[in-house]
Amino acid sequence: MTDQPLLCVNGVSKFYGNRIGCQDVGLELWLGEVLAIVGESGSGKTTLLNCISTRLPPTAGTVSYRMRDGQMRDLYRMGEAERRFLMRTDWGFVHQNPADGLRMSVSAGANVGERLMAVGERHYGNIRETAEDWLGRVEIGLDRIDDQPRDFSGGMRQRLQIARNLVTVPRLVFMDEPTGGLDVSVQARLLDLLRGLVNDLGLAVVVVTHDLAVARLLSHRIMVMKDGAVVETGLTDRVLDDPREPYTQLLVSSILQV
């Protein structure tokens, strides 16, 4: 079962005209593994994430995914209906700005329940029960279930977005700067929560971040990008404690020490 990777990315490149988004990136991801993609702004992290998650078709290369039936499928050769179904059942996508991933004008409960209704759940009581359960797991009070996310704080919105994504128990979750824009103590709580959920559910996660602390806390493996290319990959602790490439050394030494 686990002898095959869950996600297999081969030679993915994306060009914006003459400019390079990312170039010839390959990676493999196994079930239960957390991979961090780090690098400075404009290094192609988000482009790569979007290419992998079928939100942006790459110029070249293939992305294949092991479906629940064990078959490896090329994502860009699937029909759109199947791809979108996969995205809202077996995958999650946590945006940096929760407003991009949430429906701001419907209640928290409906935000969590939307994916269930999308896959055919038609029992209000069950949907609400599941929503309550998930709000509890991301530490949102049950008295807030009928409030709209626009009345939530930034940290709560981000936690709600996570609950909304995890409600169908996906196997693979993409995160784009999940702690961006949050203050340090809220970041710490969110990271703690995410780490717990990832462990409990055995998720595979691709997390894009410029914050090496997030990578250190969450990820098993790390991929350092610069100018659209991968400069170094390896176990997170190894790369951060003993960076080999000059760019990675620069990145690690740029962390502010308090």
Partner: protein, 298 residues
């Protein structure tokens, strides 16, 4: 065929629109009938009335009407309100067709937000005036996305709206424009008819055509088509019920309008379908205010 007016000022093609336009609209209608519930884009024309007055319905009627047709127009069930009277007069003038207020004798019924109480027959056409054809409009603002959702029949979002209703009000509080699923495929907005009328759309003997002029969309429900109102297993679809019968004709099980009588809280409930109410009164049915109403009028 052209229509000459006796004042000699204007000459119209039969039913106002030119033949090429009518042909274009008929093609859209045929496509709509072939794919029940699917919104067919069409090149909506300027009509001699403002948007919101039924320009979509008028164009559909103009495209399907013939010299032998008998036209009935209702506005919230009533034959005698401004919108109904002016559209009826419009077609009497530009198509010289016979008009009626009798549901049974009409071959085409153009409606703004009601379905007549009397059961429609085979051969009749019901034309709806539609302001907003897209049922997902206020849930998903991107039109590119809603079209994709229709194409891939991703309708989970429609239930999000019903969920919100129950979460806020304890029951499904949507009372008009209640979404339906047509022939197990397309989710459709039945125009702002009260949900009371939704069951009448199911397996109707009549052809139902929907025209949205400003939004440039036509859709249709052919006769004998499955039309199911969306709901939850534990909150099934229900129509409105009324405690009192109609104050004029004592009818039960019909859709009633509330009429304010004075500034002391006096009010009455009367049939929204005026033709149905009049026929019942002719048949000797009397509501508790029927006598008073006549005296007041005199």
């Amino acid at each position: 065929m052209t229509i000459h007016t006796d004042d000699g000022l204007a000459t119209y093609n039969f039913a106002y629109l030119d033949e090429q336009t009518k042909r274009m609209i008929r093609r859209a209608i045929l496509k709509g009938i072939a794919i029940p519930g699917y919104q067919v884009p069409f090149a909506s024309r300027e009509m001699p009335m403002p948007y919101g007055w039924g320009t979509g319905g008028v164009q559909v009627t103009a495209a399907v009407i013939g010299p032998d047709d008998v036209l009935k127009v209702i506005d919230q069930g009533a034959d005698d309100t401004t919108n109904a009277v002016s559209i009826r007069n419009f077609f009497a003038k530009v198509a010289e067709v016979e008009t009626t207020t009798d549901t049974a004798t009409a071959s085409i019924i153009q409606t703004r937000h009601r379905i007549p109480e009397e059961k429609l027959k085979e051969g009749q056409i019901l034309v709806y005036q539609v302001p907003i054809p897209e049922p997902l409009r206020f849930l998903e603002p991107r039109e590119t996305e809603t079209r994709k959702m229709h194409a891939l029949s991703e309708y989970g979002l429609m239930h999000v709206k019903l969920y919100e209703d129950i979460a806020k009000n304890g029951h499904i509080a949507t009372t008009y424009a209640y979404p339906v699923k047509v022939e197990g495929r397309y989710v459709m907005d039945p125009s702002p008819t009260p949900k009371f009328d939704n069951p009448k759309m199911h397996m109707s003997d009549a052809l139902q055509l929907f025209g949205a002029g400003r939004e440039k969309r036509i859709y249709a429900i052919p006769p004998h088509t499955d039309v199911v109102s969306l709901d939850f297993e534990d909150y099934p679809f229900e129509v409105q019920t009324f405690v009192e019968p109609c104050a004029l004709c004592a009818a039960h099980g019909v859709y009633l309008d509330e009429v304010i009588l004075d500034d002391k809280g006096g009010r009455m409930f009367v049939c929204s379908d005026t033709d149905h109410c009049e026929k019942r009164r002719e048949g000797g049915h009397r509501g508790h205010l029927a006598g008073d109403a006549r005296e007041t009028a005199q």
